[in-house]
């Protein structure tokens, strides 16, 4: 196991600090690396949402996301969400901007030769809505490789049940050792067995979280008065193992480096 205090490691102090937080908490939260890229994404969302909801203009546009539940009913929510996801993913620069938000952290935690999920996901969780819940799960339980990192970007301030929870690595180890008894008969049993151990993520707009996808996580009914908007997207080393989420259909190389490109195309000379 990588130890961030390893004297033989060539990681610089900042990298050691971020590595340590990621390994002990299961996640790292820091300010976005490119504020311009986040603003671009935020403005793009506002534009799409206004278009979808036929909002002509509003001087104070900021609360639209937090209070979108005042403009849309729960039965309409899924179609609305699908349309927003489709439109945002169609913007040619969207994935590049998303990457720029987290680039230095990804460099430190994953590497600089990365594959990125083809589509960025969006969560919209209105107050009291029980139709948008993600039960306790680890991505690795459904085909994601444990070599992936999830980049989670809030578009609004997220706190308490307006946010997500994650089980820290030491508690996850205990869960894995007693999985049969703790998992119970269905996912709610599993949540009940870990609910006192999970960390609820407190993260404001302007920050980004990178978390370990092999740790159990999820959300509950949003009991706060505002709607949660957050995006998530997976990144991994290009040459690290893929599980069911394959290169090509789920991941695409985004920062292939010259040596790899050269190496992949190399052929030994042949004697005729």
């Amino acid at each position: 196991m990588l130890n961030s205090n390893d004297e033989n490691s060539f990681l610089i102090d900042k990298e050691k600090d971020i590595t340590s937080q990621y390994l002990t908490q299961g996640y790292y939260i820091g300010p976005v690396a490119d504020k311009g890229a986040l603003s671009w994404i935020h403005n793009s969302f506002l534009h799409i949402v206004k278009e979808e909801l036929n909002i002509i203009d509003e001087d104070n546009a900021e609360p639209i996301l937090d209070f979108v539940h005042q403009k849309i009913s729960i039965p309409e929510l899924n179609n609305f969400r699908l349309n927003v996801i489709k439109k945002i993913n169609q913007l040619p620069d969207f994935r590049k901007k998303y990457f720029q938000i987290a680039k230095p952290y990804l460099d430190m935690l994953v590497g600089n030769e990365l594959a990125m999920q083809v589509k960025v996901n969006l969560s919209i969780q209105c107050p009291d809505d029980d139709s948008s819940l993600l039960p306790t799960h680890a991505d690795t339980w459904s085909g994601d490789s444990p070599f992936e990192v999830v980049v989670w970007v809030p578009l609004v301030n997220c706190y308490k049940t307006k946010s997500m929870y994650i089980l820290p690595p030491d508690e996850n180890e205990k869960l894995n050792k007693n999985f049969t008894s703790m998992a119970g008969a269905h996912s709610e049993d599993l949540y009940q067995s870990i609910k006192d151990k999970v960390d609820w993520i407190n993260i404001d707009y302007g920050n980004v979280m990178l978390f370990n996808n092999s740790l159990p996580h999820g959300n509950r009914v949003n009991m706060e008065s505002e709607t949660r908007w957050s995006m998530n997207c997976r990144f991994k080393g290009i040459f690290s193992p893929y599980w069911d989420k394959k290169l090509g259909s789920f991941f695409e190389p985004i920062t292939l480096r010259a040596a790899s490109s050269s190496g992949m195309n190399y052929k030994l000379p042949e004697l005729s």
């Binding site: 040459f239 690290s240 193992p241 290169l247 090509g248 259909s249 695409e252 190389p253 790899s260 490109s261």
Partner: protein
Amino acid sequence: MGENCHQSTQNLVLRDYCQRKNYKYLLSGTEYSINNSYLMLQQLVDEIPVINGIVAYSLFQMPENQEKRLQIINKILDRNGELHFALENLKISNNSEIDRVENIWLVRQTMPNCISAI
């Protein structure tokens, strides 16, 4: 390169892809199951420009040999056709799109030399 599923499932994916992209789905061509056979694919390529392009179920149904793969791709482009890959939602309609697809191919072919299990 092992990207296969039942033909009826492949047809569903192809139909869905064409519907989403507003393409007219004509008839599906089925490649012979002989190893390294691309005879049906070659025939479809020859039908361009009578047909506008070809939608393959997956990128990884193309020849593993890069030279052969590029030969087919270039022939399609020379005939002003397009090559689409439904599963990956990727297309090649110009030279710059070849690199994107080739990078995915090359990484996939390099993976057997990388760590594969934990």
